[in-house]
């Protein structure tokens, strides 16, 4: 079954605007395709984690990675679903550059009826020079399941 590109686009746009946390952080859609998604968060003074360096907080990167994983799952699912994070492991390789925003790219590489497995990475300036990587498992709640009950 092929995925309707229009669904992917609408789902991706919904993902970056629908969550109050995403709006509060200033999430912007970068790209979306089946099973993948990318979101950026621009640098902002009130999102700084270390006032000595002006580097964006790790917590912002956590929200960004979690949210980008959700977008990748939605684009893989071919239908509107709700996701809940089961676990998320994040490695922080280095701090972001001072006053730099962060971009994340996630790949949902396996989707079963009820679970999605996702990897994601984040960078500040250069996609080949990562600041963080993530690996997560998510529970899927399909609207069709709810309707069938």
């Amino acid at each position: 079954m092929s995925v309707d590109p229009e669904f992917i686009r609408l789902a991706a746009e919904a993902m970056v605007t629908i969550a109050p946390q995403g709006r509060a952080l200033g999430f912007r859609l970068v790209s979306s395709e089946p099973g993948r998604g990318s979101i950026e968060v621009p640098w902002r003074e009130d999102l700084v984690g270390n006032p000595d360096t002006g580097v964006i907080a790790g917590g912002v990167v956590t929200s960004l990675l979690d949210h980008t994983c959700g977008m990748a799952i939605l684009s893989a699912a071919k239908e509107f679903i709700a996701t809940a994070t089961l676990d998320l492991r994040i490695d922080y390789m280095r701090a972001a550059a001072p006053r730099a925003g962060v971009t994340a790219m996630a790949h949902c590489y396996k989707l079963t009826r009820s679970i999605a497995f996702v990897r994601a990475e984040a960078w500040d300036v250069d996609p080949s020079d990562l600041i963080a990587t993530a690996q997560g498992a998510f529970v899927i709640n399909r609207l069709t399941d709810a309707a069938g009950r």
């Binding site: 969550a19 956590t62 709700a82």
Partner: protein, 139 residues
């Protein structure tokens, strides 16, 4: 009367802009710190339930670990997160969330910290975090 741990904690909470963005507070009873995250609309991930964003819960747990480290280590420096694993047990509802950190091992350079978050009942945790932190002063 000066109270160094209290001052350490307040200094940490005041210094970090992102902690103010979250609206996070912390209370110290003896050497036991409880972090408090009052519910706020901008922390919501799923507006239909509504539920706290998973990333917010993870961030709150991570900041709790860093705050506890700053109190225990007595340093104004902010330690660096190496890695965190967050496990989600229950949705974070539109309620105040609490967290406590347990410093499992504080070595010369690296600390291993476990953090637990709950809302209405301590015995019904909503999430756990396990993480490693590079202590400032180490390299």
């Amino acid at each position: 009367m000066s109270d160094p741990p209290h001052e350490q904690l307040e200094a940490f909470l005041q210094r970090v802009p992102y902690i103010r963005f979250l609206g996070m507070r912390a209370e110290l009873s003896g050497d036991e710190m409880t972090a408090v995250l009052p519910f706020a609309d901008h922390l919501v991930g799923n507006f239909q339930l509504p539920a706290l964003h998973g990333g917010v819960i993870g961030a709150f747990l991570e900041m709790t670990a860093l705050a506890q480290l700053s109190v225990t280590q007595g340093s104004a420096k902010i330690h660096k997160t190496i890695d965190v694993t967050i496990e989600y047990l229950r949705p974070g509802r539109a309620l105040t969330t609490y967290a406590r950190a347990d410093l499992r091992k504080v070595g010369r350079r690296v600390a291993n910290v476990h953090v637990e978050a709950w809302q209405e009942a301590r015995d019904q945790p909503i999430a756990f975090l396990r993480g490693h932190f590079l202590l400032s002063g180490g390299s």
